[in-house]
Amino acid sequence: MSEYRSDSAALADLAATWKSAYVHVPFCRRRCPYCDFAIVDESNDGSLDHETYVDALVTEVGMESDFGPLDAVNFGGGTPSRLDPKQLRRVIDALTSRFGLKSDVEMSLEVNPEDWTDEFGRGLSEAGFTRVSVGAQSFDSGVLEALGRLHTVEMIDATVQGLRACGIRSVGIDLIFGHPSETGRSWTRTVEQAMEIGVDHISTYSLTVETGTKLSRDIAAGAPAPDDDVQADRYQQFEEISQSHGFVRYEISNHAKPGQVCRYNLATWSHGEYVAFGIAAHDHRWGVRYRNHQRVERYLEAVATGDRPRLGVEYLSEQEQERDRLMLGLRLAAGTPLTPTARRFAASDAGMAMVEAGILEIGAGRMRVVVPMMTDAVIREALSVSAADC
C-alpha cells in the first residue's frame, strides 16, 4: 500500500474491494456539547456495565454470516478508549474467529487523551492495534474548554508520545475547526503544533451545529454561531500548512502522510463493504444497508434473545448502488470513476455549471470535486440527476 499516494485513484478503486468491520463503543465520560452521536453519557447514566456491552458485541459478532477476511477493523464511538484492552481484545478475537483477518489488517481505534495511561498503550499494542486516532480537537486550551473537552494539551502530547513508544505503526489526531472562540492565529498554532508533534494522519472536522445539541441551544439563546466563510478560511489555512509538511488530502476531512491512509476510512468513502456491530452501527454489504437499534436496552434485548439488533434495512438496486458510489466518491480527492450516472451528471446543466464554477473537474476517466468545502452542493445536484435512474 505504501507505493500509492494517499489521493491515488488506483488506491481508492482498490479500497472499494476491501472488507471492513466497524465496532461502536458508545461510552463517554460526558457528552460533548456539539455531539449528536448515539452515545451513553456516563456522567448521567452509569448503569450500563461495560462488560455486559462487550458480551453483547461478542454475541452479535457470532450471529453474523460469512464475510471477510477483513482488511480493516475500526473501533469508533463514543469513546472506545473507555473499554480496557482486554475487552477490546475479546471483540477482536470474536471478529478474527468469525471472519478471519488479512495478514496486513489495519486494526484501529479512537482514543481520548483523557483515558491515556502507558499501561493502556501496552495493552493496545498487545491486542494487535496498528493504528490509533487521538481525539485531540485542538492545541489551544481555551478552544478545548469551549468545546467542552475534559482533557488538556499536555494529555494530547502524552498520548501521542506514548503511542509512539508502544510501537503503534500509525498515529493520527482529530481536530475540530471553526468554533467561534477560535481565532485565525490560534488555529494556525494548533495546526503547527500538530505538525511538530509528528503524526501520520490528521482528520479535520468543521464544527457543525446539530439540532438537539447543547451547542444549538446555546446558539438559539444568543451564543455566537460558527461562520461558513471563517470555516472556509480555516480549511484553506490547514491545507496550506499540512501540504508543506507532506500531508496529502485524500477525503474532505482526511489527510495522510505517504502510506498512512486510514484504510477503514478510505474503504467507506470508496463504497467498500463493511460489517458493523454495536448500537446505532451501520452495515453495508451485498447492496443492503442495515442499521442497528439506537437505544442500548433495545439492542441488548435483541441480542439476548438471539435476534439481530436491526432497526432498519434498505435494499439498493444496482442503480442505487451506483448512485451511492458517486455520492461518496465525490468526497474523495481521487474522485469517482465516470460511471454512466456520473457521465449523465457531467453532461447536465448543473454538472456543467459546477465545472464552469471551477468546483468540479472531469478528466482521465474520473470526476473530482476540487473545492472540497463545496462538496455537498455538487452531491445534491448529482443525486437529483441520478434520481431518474433509481
Binding site: Y235, I252, M373, M374
Partner: protein, 602 residues
Amino acid sequence: MHMDQSRIRNFSIIAHIDHGKSTLADRLLERTGTIPERDMREQLLDEMDLERERGITIKANAVRIDYEARNGERYEFNIIDTPGHVDFSYEVSRSLEACEGALLLVDASQGVEAQTLANAHLAIESGLEVIPVVNKIDLQAADPDRVAGELVNILGGTEDDVVHVSAKSGAGIDELFETIVERLPEPEGFPDSPLRALVFDSYYDTYRGVVALVRVVDGALTEGDRIRLMASGQDLDASEVGIRRPAIERTGRLGSGEVGYLITGVKEIDLIRVGDTVTQAGDPATRPLAGYAEPKPMVFSGLFPTDGDDFERLREALDKLRLNDSSLLYQPETSRALGFGFRVGFLGLLHMEIVRERLEREYDLDLVATAPSVEYRANLVEGSQRIVQSPQDLPDPGSVASIEEPYVKAMIITPAEYIGTVMELVQSKRGEMGEMNYLSTERVELHYLMPLAEIVFDFFDMLKSRTRGYASLDYEPAEYRPSDLVRVDILLNAQSVDAFSTIVHKERAYTYGRGMVHKLRELIPRQLFDVPIQAAIGSRIIARETVKAKRKDVTAKCYGGDITRKRKLLERQKEGKKRMKMVGSVEVPQEAFVAALKIAED
C-alpha cells in the same frame, strides 16, 4: 300574480367590512321567514368560500322577502347585496341603479369609513333615498350618538332619522322594517311601456349557463319572450324567469319594479354584460337605460406558473374564472425570467388579490406574480401614443417625448390626530391636497389627487400602519397627467431581469433602485459564483451590490457510515431548492419577485 308597484321596495345595504351587513341581511331573511330556521347559516348571501372567509362581498346577489307591515299590507322587499369595495365601484353603481333606496349601515363603535362614504355619495348621486342605520348598539365600545352625528353631517336630516339596531340580537329590526316601508319610495316604472330591464349582475352556472340578475324598470319580462340586449345587440330567448329567495324560484314573469333572474341558455358571459338593457326583440324600447360602461382594468400584473408545465392549466383556470367575471382581462406574456404566463388586468388591488387567491386555491396553481403596474401612455417623438401595461412595453427613452400616468381622486377618512401623519404620507406619494371636511370633532375627511401607481404600490398598507388601522381610503379614476417617469431595470449577473423592471417617478428612482438591490441581496442565496445585482435606468447603473459566492457547503464531519440519512438530507435540501426560479444561471427564490411590492416600506 303581479305585485302592486306601490308595495315594492328595492334597496341595497351599504356598509364597510365587518360593520355587520351580512348579519343584518341574515336577520331580515330570518324575521320574514324567508329562510326556514333550520336552513339558516351565517353570511347567507355570500356564496363564495372566499367571501365567507374574508367577510366581504365580491359578487352581487339579490333576494326577495315578503313583509307584512303594521298597516296590514304585504310588501315585497328586494335586497340587492353589492360588493362594497372600490375595485367594484362600477358593479356597485349598477346595483344601486336597480334600487330606490339604500340602508347606510355603520358600526356604532367604528363610525363612518371612506368606503362607506364613497358608496353613500354614489347612492345619493343615483337619487336613492338613504336610511342611516347604526349597528352593533349593544357593543361595549358603542358610541351610537357620535356615529349618528357623523351620519347626520353626511346625509343631512336630524338624529331622529337614524335607526339604531343590533343585527346580532335583533334589537330595532322591526322598526327598521317599518322605516323601509315608510321612507323608501316605490319604483317608478311604466308597466305598459316596452320592456326595459337592467342587468346588474350575471354569473355562470354549470347547468343553466349564464344567469343574469335583472331589475325590470318598464314593461314586463316573460318567459318565452324573444329578448334583445341593447348594448351588445344580441337577440336571445328568455328561457326561464324567476326570483331568488335566495334559492331560485321560477315565476315565469317579472313586472315593472321587480327584481329577479333571467336565463337564456347562453354560455358566454360577454353576451350579457353588467349594465346592459334587456328589451323585447319584437317591441324594443327606443332608448336603453343610462350608464352602460365596459369594464376597465386599472391594475396589471404578470402571472406566471412556478412550474412551467402548468401554463395550460393556468389558461384554463383563467378561462373558467372569466365565465363569472367579465372584468377579468388577460393575454399571454413571455418573460425571459419567468417563462410563459399572462399579463392580467384587474379592477384594482383587491380584485387582483382575489383572482390570485382563487387561482391558487380553486385551481391548485402555484403562481409568481410580478409587481402590479398601472396603464401608462407613452407619447412618442414621432407623434403617436403607445399604451403601456407592462414596464417592458415602455419604448426606449430616446423615442419617448413624454409619459402620462393615471391620477385618481382619493378620499381618506382619519381620526383628527393623524391628519399630520396622513398629509405627510400623501405628500411623499405625490398627492395634491384638495378639500378637507370635519365629519365630527374627531374625524376628518381629506381629499387628494394622486397617482394611481402610488396607491397600487403599497399606499394602503402604509396608511393603515401609520394610523394604527384607523384611516380608511377610497378612490376613483380622475385623469391622465404627464409625469417625469423612468423605468428602473434590475440586472442579475449583468443580465436584465424583465420581471423586476418597474416604472417609477424620476425623483424616487434612486431610492427605489437602492432599496430593491438591497432587498434582493438579502433574498438571493449565495451561489457558486459572485452575483452582482444592479439597478439601472437605461444604461446608467444607479445602485449595485454583490451576493458573494458561497464558500462552504459541506458537512465536513464523519457521519458514522450512515449514508442513508446523509443522502436523504441532501435530497430534501435539493427539493427545497426546486422552489427557486432559474434566472439565467442564478437561482432566485419566489419571494424575490414579491419583494418589489414591499420595497417602498423600507
